[in-house]
Each structure stands twice: as structure tokens, then as C-alpha cells.
């Protein structure tokens, strides 16, 4: 792994770099397959069987089935690819984002209406 990754210090954030893209290649390509309606149907009918068609790790497959987006990202998933999963589920970006924050959807939606999560206390303040 390249050693200099100052962005790893940013709190609550996974930066999708080449190493993550390598770990998550098949997970993300599985997500892309959901852009086709027939694939969405097959996935919905039997998720495990559909996932087994992809050379993903069992941990990646279980994270998909659990819709645990933070876990999927830690296993190389990128949010724009993972969006194909929650779009297939008929869930909005805001609803999906809220599941990653430990907040309820109404709490998250209210935070956004109130101007969003404040930068204070949520940025890396140390040396780069």
C-alpha cells in the first residue's frame, strides 16, 4: 500500500482510492449490473444466488444482503456504485445516507434542513 494517505485522517470518511477500488472491484461491478432491469428482477428474486454469480468475498455478499453501506464501503464499495443497490430498493440518496450516520431518517432530514452537519468537530485539524 502506498504509505502517504493523509486523507485517512479525515473523520467518518472513506476515500475511494486505487487500493479500495482494487478490493471492491467485483462488488462495484455487481452494483453496475443492477442498472439493467432484468438483472434487478433476478437480484430481487434471489439475492444470494445472484451474488454468487460474482467473484465477491462472502463478507462483501453478506454486507450487501444486510444493506450495511458502511461495511460495504470498508470492503471497497464506492457510494456511486452502491447507489445502484438502494435505487433498486426504491430508496433515495438521502434515506441511504442517513443509514450510515447512526441517525434516524427524520433526524437526518431535519439536520439537512437546519443547514447540514457542521464542519466544527468534523474535520481533521492536525498536520497533514
Amino acid at each position: 500500500m502506498p504509505s502517504n494517505k493523509p486523507y485517512k485522517n479525515i473523520p467518518g470518511t472513506t476515500v475511494f482510492d486505487a487500493d479500495m477500488a482494487s478490493i471492491g472491484f467485483h462488488l462495484n461491478q455487481f452494483c453496475m449490473s443492477l442498472m439493467k432491469a432484468p438483472n434487478r428482477e433476478r437480484f430481487k428474486q434471489d439475492q444470494q444466488a445472484y451474488l454468487d454469480e460474482w467473484p465477491m468475498t462472502e463478507e462483501q455478499k453478506q454486507a450487501v444482503i444486510a444493506r450495511d453501506y458502511n461495511h460495504m464501503m470498508s470492503l471497497g464499495g464506492n457510494i456511486y456504485f452502491l447507489a445502484k443497490i438502494f435505487s433498486s430498493d426504491g430508496i433515495s440518496f438521502q434515506d441511504a445516507a442517513s443509514t450510515m450516520t447512526g441517525m434516524t431518517l427524520p433526524e437526518y432530514a431535519q439536520m439537512m434542513l437546519d443547514g447540514g452537519r457542521t464542519p466544527q468537530g468534523n474535520m481533521y485539524e492536525g498536520d497533514k
Partner: protein, 279 residues
């Protein structure tokens, strides 16, 4: 000769497209946002651009992990709206300008910017939401559009400096095109937002407003901002803002600010919008 006369910057949040497509623009949540675009809708009718060079990013719609070009230019004659998982947006196909696009590619590649030439590409909300915000809901888009796609999904995106200088090279290319064309350049994406992880929902009004100030009057200085500062201060998806610097680099050093608008929130995102004319 072709000439770049003006620039537009705007966020391209997908929920804005959904609000337009589903007739929700006058709902209380959306009304203040769309009001901020009243000016540009009138302005563009007077400006009548022949071609818009539209800088945007693909969101894992046309480019999956098989191919990730840092910069790509659409040289095709026609581009369809992408199906992003819920069917294509009900908007007109986008008509390209193959001659000008190919000329730009030829010129900037020889100027050391190695654009990937793309002839077939479905264009996602990153490109079509700005068109809807500026042109409304016409039967056909009123001008030709040259898509310029920038990778901001796989880290690292190109640097702000690189984007700013690409803008300058695009301007040089346009000005050496032997047809009388009124060309605009639009930079899209941003402003501060983070769509992922426990920090999702980050909005940084101070950062955004400083960015809106500096891109008008201190673009050269702004172009020096490091990736880390975008990610840390504007959120992991806030790095889309480097695309505004391509637009700005293609304009004169001195520009006239015709419209400035800032609004929070649209879904998870802070919305910023500028209209700039070359002085």
C-alpha cells in the same frame, strides 16, 4: 471565429432533476432553490449560445471500473440520457457538435492535455440537471452541447491547477475554430457535500462562500487548493468543485459577476450557482 463569451457554474444534484421531472418545483422545499435560477433562465434567452461546453462528472453511469478516464470529451453527434437505475430522465437527447469537439480534442492534446475521445456515451444527471436548470423543459435543447467528463469518483481527481489550465487550453482551442460560434462553458458539481460514511451530510457554508468569492476574483490562487482541503473541508464529494475551475480557466482573468446564488439543502448537498460574463 468561435468565442467563449460566458460561464455558468451550478450544482447538479439528482434530486433537483427528480423535482423538475415530477412537477415539484413550487413545493415549499424546492421553491427557494428554483427561484435562484430565474435569472439564468432569462439571461440565456438573450445570450443564445450556439454551443455549451458542459463540464461534469459521470456517476458510475457510463464509466464503470473497467475504464476510468481522468478527462474525456464527447465527440459524438448525439447523446442519450442515461438510465441510472430508475429509468432515463424524460429529457431530450443531447445534440453534440462533433466538429468543434474534435477540434478541441486535437488542439488540447497537442497542448499536453491528453483527453480521452468518447463518441458514444449516455449522459447522466451530472450533465442533464444543469441543462434543465438553465433551459427548463423544452421539447429540444436550444443549443449543441459538448460533454467534458472529469473523473472525481476514483481518487485522485485531477488537481484544481490542472483543471484551471485545461480551461485555458480549451479557450485557446475554441478561439482557433474557424466558424462564428457563441460558445459558453459550464462547470458543474459541488458544493460542499458528503454522501457517505458517518460524516454524511457535511455542509461547509464558510468554505462554499469563500469558494464562490475566490473563483470570481482569485481563481489563480484558488486553483492551488490541495485535494486534501477539498475532501476535509467540503466533504468527500465536494471535490467535484475542481470542475468549476475548468470553466473559470476558459474565461478572461477579469469577469463580470451577473448572478450568484447559494442554498442549503438540496437533499444532502449545498447548491451554488454563478453566471459570469467575459469583460
Amino acid at each position: 471565429m468561435a468565442k467563449i463569451t460566458a460561464g455558468v457554474a451550478t450544482s447538479h444534484v439528482p434530486a433537483i432533476g427528480a423535482a423538475i421531472d415530477n412537477g415539484k418545483t413550487q413545493e415549499p422545499y424546492w421553491q427557494p432553490l428554483f427561484k435562484g435560477y430565474d435569472y439564468v433562465k432569462q439571461w440565456v434567452k438573450q445570450q443564445k449560445p450556439d454551443v455549451v461546453i458542459l463540464v461534469y462528472n459521470d456517476h458510475a453511469s457510463a464509466f464503470d471500473l473497467n475504464f476510468v478516464p481522468t478527462f474525456a470529451i464527447g465527440c459524438g453527434a448525439e447523446f442519450k440520457p442515461a438510465d441510472e437505475g430508475w429509468g432515463p430522465r424524460p429529457v431530450p437527447n443531447v445534440m453534440g457538435h462533433p466538429q468543434l469537439a474534435s477540434h478541441i480534442a486535437q488542439s488540447v492534446i497537442q497542448d499536453d492535455f491528453d483527453l480521452t475521445v468518447v463518441n458514444t456515451i449516455d449522459v447522466d444527471h451530472g450533465l442533464t440537471v444543469p441543462l434543465s436548470l438553465v433551459f427548463g423543459q423544452p421539447e429540444a435543447w436550444p443549443c449543441k452541447v459538448i460533454p467534458v467528463a472529469v473523473n472525481v469518483v476514483l481518487y485522485p481527481a485531477p488537481s484544481g491547477r490542472r483543471c484551471y489550465n485545461l480551461g485555458k487550453a480549451i479557450r485557446k482551442a475554441v478561439e482557433s475554430f474557424d466558424q462564428d460560434l457563441n460558445v459558453q462553458i459550464w462547470g458543474t458539481g459541488g458544493m460542499s457535500h458528503q454522501l457517505q460514511g458517518p460524516r454524511a451530510g457535511l455542509i461547509n457554508k464558510e468554505f462554499d462562500n469563500a469558494f464562490l468569492d475566490r473563483i470570481v476574483d482569485d481563481a489563480e490562487g484558488l486553483s492551488q487548493m490541495a485535494h486534501f482541503d477539498y475532501l476535509n473541508q467540503a466533504g468527500s464529494e465536494g471535490i467535484e468543485l475542481v470542475m468549476w475551475l475548468i470553466m473559470r480557466g476558459a474565461l478572461n482573468d477579469k469577469v463580470e459577476l451577473k448572478q450568484r446564488f447559494y442554498h442549503v439543502p438540496a437533499s444532502n448537498t449545498a447548491v451554488g450557482h454563478l453566471v459570469l460574463e467575459n469583460k
